[in-house]
Symmetry: C2
Subunit: 204 residues, 2 copies
DNA sequence: GTCTATATATTGATAGAC
DNA sequence: GTCTATCAATATATAGAC
């Protein structure tokens, strides 16, 4: 495959991400994607003969990106530093790659038909491994004893929320508060939530 | 409108909830809904002449259900009891009404085109009111000082996650752990998260 | 490789018999 | 109120000229 071909494919995939993440697979048309990509529909179909093939490519690339932040959590690091860094990385992904997050959420809502195998095998294996790391930290008394799986779920949920439910977050915060400060506020809030919860500090 | 008519409409709305929540608006066909409802397509269209009208009805009913749990949080109650109850109600909704949760998530992912007005007005007003309640509790030193808006967001995110990302949760927990214990585990975990975070208890 | 024109399939909605 | 038959619009995909 030539360099030109690869570039064209990348333009199409970028346009498809834009459209699929906003309207879902069925809600998106090749016409829309072609327009965003700046080419005609038959031209787009010259590079990707099937609409499904575009989606498939996006999904397989997505999963690699998706597993990366958790993989970086190191067993030999300081527990609080590692967890805080993980939360930060996930929140940065929600801020910088909201379309990927929404594409993933769309797939989940439909029962993950295209990636259920990778979820059940690769993702499960990774989470099992990191849950074991968390359990070790608990055994060592470095973090509170709790359910490591649900801990990971809650980090996913709280961070991805800022991408997937972005409209709602902005509407609720209103014009002033929604204006770009929300990710910094979220970072501060989530750090406190996961590290201390709502228990008030004794006055000092 | 007769009783029969109302019943038929309810059957259609129930079927539409099933289909829309799983495939999204554009991904659902009237044929599918009609089949689930156990009637022919023209017959269904006799009661709802437009596909959009079915969706509109579901959305307006949904929003009422959706605001209820937060409305019940009372300023004159004990803060920890009120917050814990709220989390519990939201988690029960994720468990008992996952389709409504997914319908809502679908709408959010698309930028809430049909309900943005209610989000910006009614939901915002309700959250503003409850954020004020939380702020008062913080001023009184009853709960830790934190961002009340992001606190509410994180309760939404963590509880709805068990409905919206159900496939993933079950796949990661595996056959044994995914088997029905997950909501009880989540309830225990979330209670600890919000009340104490990960700070380990001093040994004693 | 890119275009115009078009084939084919799906689907929302209607017509008209019963 | 419910059905069969069908229309009209949309959307995926292909044919064939350039």
């Amino acid at each position: 495959m030539t360099r030109i071909q690869r570039e064209k494919q990348d333009i199409i995939l970028e346009a498809a991400l834009e459209v699929f993440s906003a309207h879902g697979f069925r809600g998106s048309t090749i016409d829309q994607i072609a327009e965003v990509a700046g080419m005609s529909k038959p031209n787009l179909l010259y590079y990707f003969p099937k609409k499904e093939e575009i989606h498939r490519r996006l999904m397989s690339e997505l999963l690699v990106t998706w597993l990366a932040p958790l993989q970086e959590m190191r067993a030999d690091g300081d527990p609080f530093v590692e967890i805080r860094s993980y939360i930060r990385r996930k929140l940065e992904m929600a801020r910088d790659f909201p379309r990927q997050s929404r594409l993933f959420a769309n797939e989940m809502l439909r029962g993950a038909p295209h990636i259920i195998d990778m979820i059940e095998v690769d993702l499960k294996a990774l989470v099992d491994e990191k849950a074991q790391v968390l359990l070790t930290w608990m055994d060592e008394g470095k973090i509170a004893r709790t359910d490591p799986y649900h801990l990971i779920f809650s980090i996913w949920a709280t961070t991805q929320h800022y991408a997937d439910f972005d409209v709602q977050v902005r509407a609720v915060l209103g014009k002033g508060r929604g204006g770009e400060g929300r990710f910094e506020d979220a970072a501060r809030y989530l750090e406190q939530l996961f590290l201390h919860g709502l228990t008030p500090k004794p006055k000092g």
